[in-house]
């Protein structure tokens, strides 16, 4: 089967989220179709943080949103705690979705500038009619406290009065209001300064421990995900390149794309010499992706086989799976 393969899937009881053969396509006029996500299968265990890493346009955000059916994938299954979300009727899907919440990339535009912080964080509770008004206010105060904001100071202020890092804290408080079991974070720190990034990453870790969350963490920066993830999935043009434990992937990346991503991370040491040439060019158009391996047009190890046949994921080391005909070993 010409998918990304299934070798990396785990068969165990504690899998909370299982994506099977997810395809998301967008029509762009002229009969052309953007292949944003092409047959991706992955699973996430309870309490795990799965990082999805790749360049702009690789389909990582689309995949994250497909979990929430925003929009629903064209084909494929999204099994969340044993229920296929793609098959649920609208009302049931709405209530099932309260268990999965999302934190967006741009902390400022994802908050309504006309609402007070108290209203923003309390809105999910109000929509779902959770508790009395007093209960809700107590809950909002608790949430704000937990994300490191002083409720007395922030409750009646509006989002434009806060910095990017504080807005991201408010976003996180809102996403936790309904006590979700899963949190999808889409580039939660890429709009923030390095010094603030660390604070938000630590906060997400704390919230994960406190609320027992399972997380999907989407990012283009391998350095950022290292601190927070238990499992890493590298994507390129809608396909999986490599899946595995952070230790394996960072110490000996098997896919040439993963290694190029690692080499692109800036190193704060003027004496550091890059041993590889950084990746040249940009990804090809997802309207007409290359045949065979989609990375072959930029790959230093490409051969005729790569154009003819699509590589499937296979295990190259314990808990390290790569879709490449010529892995780096």
């Amino acid at each position: 089967m010409a998918g990304s393969g299934y070798a990396h899937l785990r068969d165990s009881d504690d899998v909370v989220l299982a994506l099977r053969d997810i395809v998301v396509e967008f029509r762009v006029g002229g009969g052309r179709v953007v292949n944003a996500v092409s047959r991706i299968s992955i699973d996430v265990r309870r309490g795990e943080t799965l990082a999805i890493v790749g360049e702009s346009g690789c389909g990582k955000t689309t995949l994250g949103k497909a979990i929430l059916q925003l929009p629903a994938p064209n084909t494929g299954q999204v099994m969340f705690e044993g229920t296929d979300l793609t098959k649920l009727p609208k009302e049931q899907l709405r209530s099932a979705r309260t268990a999965i919440q999302m934190v967006f990339q741009d902390p400022i535009s994802s908050l309504d500038p006309r609402m007070t912080v108290g209203e923003i964080v309390g809105e999910p509770l109000w929509i779902w009619g959770r508790g009395s008004e007093a209960d809700r206010e107590a809950k909002v105060r608790e949430l704000l406290n937990n994300v490191g904001l002083d409720p007395e100071l922030v409750l009646h202020r509006r989002s434009y009065e806060f910095s990017g890092g504080q807005c991201q804290r408010i976003s996180i408080a809102r996403s936790l209001a309904l006590e979700p079991r899963m949190l999808i974070c889409d580039e939660p720190v890429s709009a923030l300064d390095v010094s603030i990034q660390a604070q938000i990453l630590n906060l997400l870790q704390d919230m994960k421990d406190r609320y027992g969350l399972t997380m999907v963490f989407i990012s283009h920066d391998l350095a950022v995900v290292k601190a927070v993830s238990n499992r890493i999935m590298v994507m390129y043009l809608g396909k999986i390149c490599e899946v595995g434990s952070p230790d394996a992937i960072y110490s000996k990346p098997a896919h040439h794309y993963t290694s190029a991503l690692l080499d692109s991370v800036p190193v704060p040491d003027p004496a550091y010499q890059r041993n590889n040439v950084a990746l040249q060019g940009e990804p090809p158009s997802p309207v007409a992706p290359p045949t065979g391996c989609r990375f072959r047009t930029r790959c230093p190890a490409a051969s005729p086989l790569c154009a003819a046949e699509e590589p499937l994921l296979r295990e190259v080391a314990p808990d390290q799976f790569v879709a490449c005909h010529h892995p780096r070993l």
Binding site: S195, Q197, L201, N202, A227, V267, D269, A278
Partner: protein, 329 residues
């Protein structure tokens, strides 16, 4: 040492409803001919205000500016706006952070690059087109001929930033300001753009000011670094000297907060607790004292002067790192 740009005792204040906001305080900085100087700091540290003021881009009734800027032997601070404007393009040029909004969305790429060639260098239409194609190949855009007719929305972020760079270098400026040129880009594209900038700098014998919040970006791409905090330069040194021999606790904290691929996964990241002081009221002591892990009584009482440690290394700290004194942890 010849300097292309010299900033002396620069003070910049903004008139706001809350009173005078001090964005830049007593900053002096020399940019040697042919060198690349990094200005590093968090959001709100005054780095962008400083670079805009150095280019004469700050004016208006709400700006209070003191100090002297000498560019290429000419004192910008005493020149009229028209005279300063004449320095743009051939004297200095700027690359802005957000390539999505810095380009004109309704004009073709070719027209936008040719504009400065026609106005500033007085080229004929034909000559400007020929030069535009040369510039586009110089910034490594594939198929420059086709690029002429494109609109910015048709380009990726990396391609737009290349177009911005082509515009900036079109009139062979002596000094290029790059204000967070890669912050909006993916890591892979970031390393390409930084490489391009340093190649162009060597080829065109330009001096460069690189403004960024990321010490990792500064490390491999600059000769000198100035670290800014709360509107002041708190440490300044040749890049290798700075990284080898850090004196200022703030610089150290900034460096430690960068997530790297070498860090252990699941470990908490180092953060700089607290936030920048209120810019409307300057602290009596060191402005970093409230967040400094090594703070001493003297730090909150007296403002530290900029001290020269030799090797062109300046720092603003009463108890610099690397000295054997009892420290509060």
């Amino acid at each position: 040492m010849n300097t292309i740009l010299s900033i002396a005792a620069m003070n910049i204040k903004f008139v706001t409803p809350r009173g005078l906001l001090e964005a830049v305080h007593e900053v002096s900085l020399d940019i040697p001919v042919g060198s690349s100087v990094g200005i590093v700091g968090e959001s709100g540290s005054g780095k962008t205000v400083l670079s805009r003021a150095a280019m004469g881009l700050l004016s208006g009734s709400t700006v209070r500016r003191e100090g002297k800027v000498v560019f290429d032997g000419k004192e910008l601070t005493t020149m009229t706006r028209e005279q300063v404007r004449n320095e743009f393009g051939t004297g200095m040029a700027m690359i802005f952070q957000d390539p999505m909004t810095a380009l004109n969305p309704v004009r073709r790429v070719g027209t936008q690059i040719a504009e400065s060639l026609r106005i500033r260098l007085g080229m004929s239409k034909k000559a400007a087109v020929v030069r535009t194609i040369e510039l586009l190949s110089l910034v490594q855009i594939p198929d420059p001929q086709a690029m002429l007719r494109k609109f910015p929305y048709q380009l990726s972020g990396g391609m737009r930033q290349r177009v911005m760079i082509a515009i900036a270098i079109s009139c062979s400026p002596k000094l290029l300001f790059a204000d967070e040129p890669t912050t909006a880009l993916d890591v892979t594209v970031q390393s390409q753009i930084l490489q391009l900038l340093s190649d162009l700098r060597r080829e065109l014998k330009m001096s460069m000011v690189l403004v960024t919040h990321d010490l990792g970006v500064v490390a491999g791409n600059t000769d000198y670094v100035a670290v800014m905090y709360a509107g002041e330069i708190v440490e300044q040194a040749p890049t290798s000297e700075l990284f080898a021999n850090m004196k200022m606790p703030y610089t150290e904290a900034l460096l430690k907060s960068i997530p790297t691929i070498h860090m252990q996964s699941g470990k908490r990241l180092a953060v700089i607790e607290g936030r920048l002081p209120d810019p409307t009221s300057r602290l009596q002591g060191c402005s970093f004292a409230p967040r400094c892990p090594y703070v001493q009584p003297k730090c909150t009482a007296e403002h530290p002067p900029l001290v020269n440690a030799g090797n062109d290394h300046l720092y603003r700290c009463w108890f610099p790192l690397g000295q054997t004194i009892a420290r509060k942890q």
